[in-house]
């Protein structure tokens, strides 16, 4: 079955993509680029990197820009899926949704209206297991956004390894995989990347327990 993946460039969509590639044929990445940093549906820091990530993975990218207004961005989500269907013949969509029934239900409804299959291979998965699976499979994942206490500036740019997973799990009240929006991530390498992404320039912005690491310049390097 030809599938498109809703791709943010973060760890959840990359892990969902990894699983989907093992079972079906993924033919394109679908990205909604939100201009709203508080987007309800879409991950935002470093969303501009999805183009480079697509190149590193070796899959075409279909992208649509949204202003990020709550209900309007669903229209753009539908548009990007329609384009995936028209341009690449996708029969279904894969998402990295873990627990959000808000997100899951909206994507299910759009898929239903477009007669597309919908797959959520991380659905209800234990958050700690997700982090461990990423580490065990050699995903290179950086924390590029922190949006809640007790995350300080020092978390930005940290690579998620065994030690970081342990610390994330120990922090009470925080969803360790960050689906509640406490952290955002950017994936620089994964088993299915043909090339890895090397960060050449970055800028950290941090204030009031909230910050992002914007990746300004990258290059693709052979693995």
């Amino acid at each position: 079955m030809k599938l498109g993946i809703l791709f943010s460039g973060g760890k959840d969509s990359c892990l969902a993509l990894y699983r989907a590639m093992q079972k079906e044929e993924v033919v394109c990445l679908l990205t909604v680029i939100s201009k709203n940093p508080e987007s309800f549906m879409f991950h935002t820091p470093n969303i501009h990197l999805t183009e480079k990530q697509a190149e590193a993975i070796g899959l075409p990218l279909v992208s649509v820009v949204t202003e990020g207004e709550k209900e309007k961005e669903l229209k753009e989500l539908k548009e990007v899926m329609e384009r995936g269907k028209e341009e690449f013949g996708i029969e279904g969509v894969v998402t990295g949704t873990i627990e959000s029934v808000y997100q899951a239900a909206r994507i299910q409804k759009i898929c239903d209206s477009l007669k597309l299959w919908c797959f959520n291979p991380l659905w209800q998965k234990n958050q700690e297991e997700i982090l461990k699976e990423l580490v065990e499979n050699g995903f290179e994942v950086l924390i590029t956004g922190v949006f809640a206490e007790p995350f300080g500036r020092e978390w930005l740019g940290k690579r998620i390894d065994k030690e970081v997973v342990k610390k994330l799990v120990e922090i009470e009240g925080i969803n360790p995989a960050g689906e509640g929006g406490e952290i955002e991530t950017t994936v620089l390498d994964a088993p299915f990347f043909r090339k890895r992404i090397k960060v050449k320039g970055r800028e950290i912005k941090f204030e009031n327990n909230s910050g992002i690491m914007e990746i300004k310049k990258v290059e693709l390097v052979e693995k």
């Binding site: 079906e24 894969v94 029934v101 299910q108 991380l122 659905w123």
Partner: protein, 179 residues
Amino acid sequence: MILLVDLCYKKDSLSNYEFVRPIAKIVEKNFAVKHYTELVPEEVKKYEKIILCGTALKDKSYLENIEKFAWLKSVNAPVLGICAGMQVIALTFGSELTEAKEIGMKWIKLVKENKLFSRDLYVYELHGFGVKPSNEFEVLAESDKCVQAIKHKEKEIYGIMFHPEVRQEEIVRNFLKIQ
């Protein structure tokens, strides 16, 4: 040993992660997962309890193979059918399917107290068909759109249309306590 039956479009599919594994996570231990196409009546009798898992909204392949579930008629173990699993149970015992789509969180109303739950619930729905139960069943719950839970009048065979793995894990645990 508990049998989890995978009703998805093929064995070991991408949907298995979404509809079988979350149930396995609640059951935790002493379970086996089998795809419905590989089940034979003799083997089914080995299990103490059986759960028929759900499928993707677009997946209707189990409806084209309903004869593969004929073993349900002679099974003595308690059975729980979730979503597609409820449809299969209903069809096997002479009920009809109706067009009834529900997606997302919704309130359902308790009609009859039972061993699985005893109050109105706010549940996650993901189905395109509803069930018009035959008189072999009693209705346990309903939404404004369709029947949400049924029980066979003489056997410990239950069907629930919503997905308990999302917000009502205790329903699966209560089922596992049934003797």
